[in-house]
Amino acid sequence: MNDSLSINQKPVIKCESVYKIFGTNANKLLENASGPISAEEFQKAGCIIGVNDASFEIHKGEMLVVMGLSGSGKSTLLRCISRLTDPTSGKIFIDGEDLLEMNSKQLIELRRNKMGMVFQSFALLPHKTVLENIAFPLIIKGLATEESIKKAMEMVELVGLKGRENYFPRELSGGQQQRVGIARSLAVEPDIWFLDEPFSALDPLIRKEMQDEFLRLQSSLHKTIMFVTHDFDEALRLADRIAIMKDGIIEQLDTPDNIVLNPATEYVKKFTEDVPREKVLKIESIMDKYDQSLAGNNTVSKDAIIETVAESILESKENLTVIDVNNENKPIGILQPKKVITVLFGK
């Protein structure tokens, strides 16, 4: 999303050095800790690290993708922010309210109205039909059955399952089951949407289809999203910003192109090495400073991903003008086609 717009607003989710440590000695370990705790210390204390000193903010309408290998603490981080587990220490604010101070009643209210979550294994209730599963949060919330069913029916249509509303989960394919999971998490119209590896259990082709569907939904819903994945390509495709985790530590949190261009650590670099740059980088990152005398007639948006516009750029012999579509198409730079060739085919 547009950073300059959201930066002034209050963040929807805010974490301040959140730790989650499994084990009995967790608190002792934290007593005199500042910053991330090292692996040796954990081993000495016999603890397992879930989340190690995570601090970040997510703004309204933004999609943060949390990426990391299995066991790196992504789910644990998500569970802390939805308070399915209590963090060992740290502070979490949802819309400015202290999540960890809430009592169970407030928490239930929060979940009933503001949060939705999608799970990797779908986690549908086996004894309920598609429609009942989707209506479940509404009924739990105390809505009348008729109203819930009507609302659930809208959701069924939204995720493209019309005609299957009376099926049981076991009668559906994985992709269809996850559509139900998505519909259920959206039924209460939450502002915040958590997705924990929602597409990881699906076949590659279906996964691609679901990602497209997901982007389509988000383009009309504008939820604040925390999306967990272990698939770097998926992260690049979906994210506004990516947080890369390793052993509970957030190694880098940045926009996809910055992560590819300026990996903060060796670990992040390993991920980015094989990524085709044209798929990630925006025109903005390879343009030169604006100079009226060099600018050509054809224009290109600064936010366009290189791959999507490469063909037309290569066809034009002269330089292009890079414009900012969000700011009255103001020209902000020029683009030399040979730069695109460098990105596409290497030096």
Partner: protein, 686 residues
Amino acid sequence: MFNYLKNSRQKQFIFLFTIFLILYFFIPKNENNYLWRLPPLLKDLPLMFNVLLDNLMFNWFTIPVWDPDWQMYEDKTLFRIITRSISNLVLFFIIFIREVFLGGFQTVNSILGDSITDANTWISIPALPWTAVVIGAIIIGYKLEGIRLALLAGIGFFYVSVFGQWEPSMQTLSLVLFTAPVCFIIGLSLGVWGYLSKRVEAALQPILNVAQTMPHFSYLVPIVVLFGVGDHAGSIATIIFATPPMVRLTILGLKKISPEVIESGLMSGCNRFQLLFKVLIPTARRDILIGVNQVIMQCLAMTTIAAFIGAKGLGFNLKVALNSLKIGKAAEIGICVVIIAVVLDKLSLAWANKQKDYFANLNFYQRNRLSIFFILLTVCCSVVAFIASYFFPEGFNYLYLIPFNKGLTVSPILDAFVDWIWNTFFYYLNSFNIFLLTNVLGPMKQAYLNMPVISTFVLFMGAGYIIGGLRSCLIVGSLILFIALSEYWDRTLITLYMATFAVGVSAISGIIVGSLCSQNDFASKSILSICDFFQTFPSFIYLIPVILLFGITDTSVMIAAIVYASVPATRYTVEGLRSVPSSLHDAGSMSGVSKLQRWRLIDLPLALPHIMLGINQTVIFALMMIVLGALIGTEDLGQLIMGSLSRPNGAGIGFTLGIFISFICLAVDNLIRTWADERKKLLGIE
């Protein structure tokens, strides 16, 4: 020497067995030698148990209670008041259900007082005519599954009525209809509690283990002391006996729920109550409903046995028929028990598997069509029966109830058949019987009785050590020590000898039959449904045909035990062999093994852990049947338990001996389970 033994279990076992044999032959038989028999230090245990019960019932915690008849306060023990109130409550419900089926005015009495019913004799609950019950059974069967189940249920109840067993059958059914829901509620609550709290589960686990391995009989005596004799006592025994599987399956089902499903419930904003009733229990529905099915079957089995403490019903008639050696009559009643068992089993399974259709858009009539139908037909049947009562001359109304002596009967034919068998085959049967007794069972029994106590310990504890290390060794050792310190060690040895023989034969035959049947799909399916069928009857029933053939001897008990205990061995063998992955079969075939080699080298080793779990069940089943065999006269622990039923201070003895049987089961269970778990891990199968 040590290194030689270290790596081979086989060698360890051979070594152990050698020591066992050396001890066996070299320990002198001498009552004062502690290596031969331990002193009965725990002799007073049953007595203490009796004293405890006695004090609870008559001495401790007295409170004054107003006695309206004597117009004065009387001291009564709290405990006794509690048991009395429970008895009365239980009795009220049973009588009420019974009166729905059979008519009467006791319930009305207990509410209104008998002066009113004395004055107005017409006040009573009218019985449902048996025709209406048959129609009800058909309709329920139809609604739950379809026409086949409807026919089964209808014909079943029709048979029961026409053969004149209506009254006892409905008495038994009323016991089941009362006890099963109580077991369900208690079992579900305990299960949920155990799931929610680790500590509760840890406390429940050993109680469940002992409760499920105690023979039915040993429950009965303490219950008689606490609750007296009668239907209520029978029901309470039944509830105690049938609840454990419900608890266990509830915990099992709840534990299987994936954490994500629970989290999805939490994220939907469930509070604790909603999470429990809308997410957890419905998701574990399948296991819980299997639990319900087991509860019903256990209730039926136990209500027949509860005849021994005065519960009315089929079990009571069966006991009378067996005692007076009316084999034909007993067989007929036995068939009724089997029919009710099969019908209840199928109905409850159909109910468990039924899916609700929430979205069928039905109006009131369509939704309640069958209930309306049932009510109309019941009214019709009652009217017809009422009118018909003027046409039956002798005062029996056959359309209400067919009395036991007026029903059809085939018992003369059955008796004649038995006579014929006896006359024709007596020589063969008897010589088989005598051969078995003198050449196999007799010597085996002697051999067991000649076993010094030290060698028994070496054998069991050594096996425990080899299989599960020090932990198993100590567990098994202390379980047996408890028995060895009592004065019933010799009886235990007799029980053990019978159990060994029965388990051996059952295991071998079960594994052979199972292996043969698992060779193709059809045979596997058939044998599994046969196993299902055999497992539906109450164990009591198995004794009828063997008595018919072999009379009252150890052989009969042995054969009943073998048949009964072969069922789990066969079932687990089939299941184990069928679950061997087919890729391994293919791999085997490609390396050119023959069918027999494949079985021996691939299938059997892989299936063995599962088969051993079956053998574990076989041990429990065999012991249960052997104890039950005391009913027809054997001289093991079972007979003492039986005997304690009629002794005034028998509660302690019956209960202690029950615990002994349970400990034997637990010792074997520990050995087999430890071995199977480790083996499964080794083979990488779960």
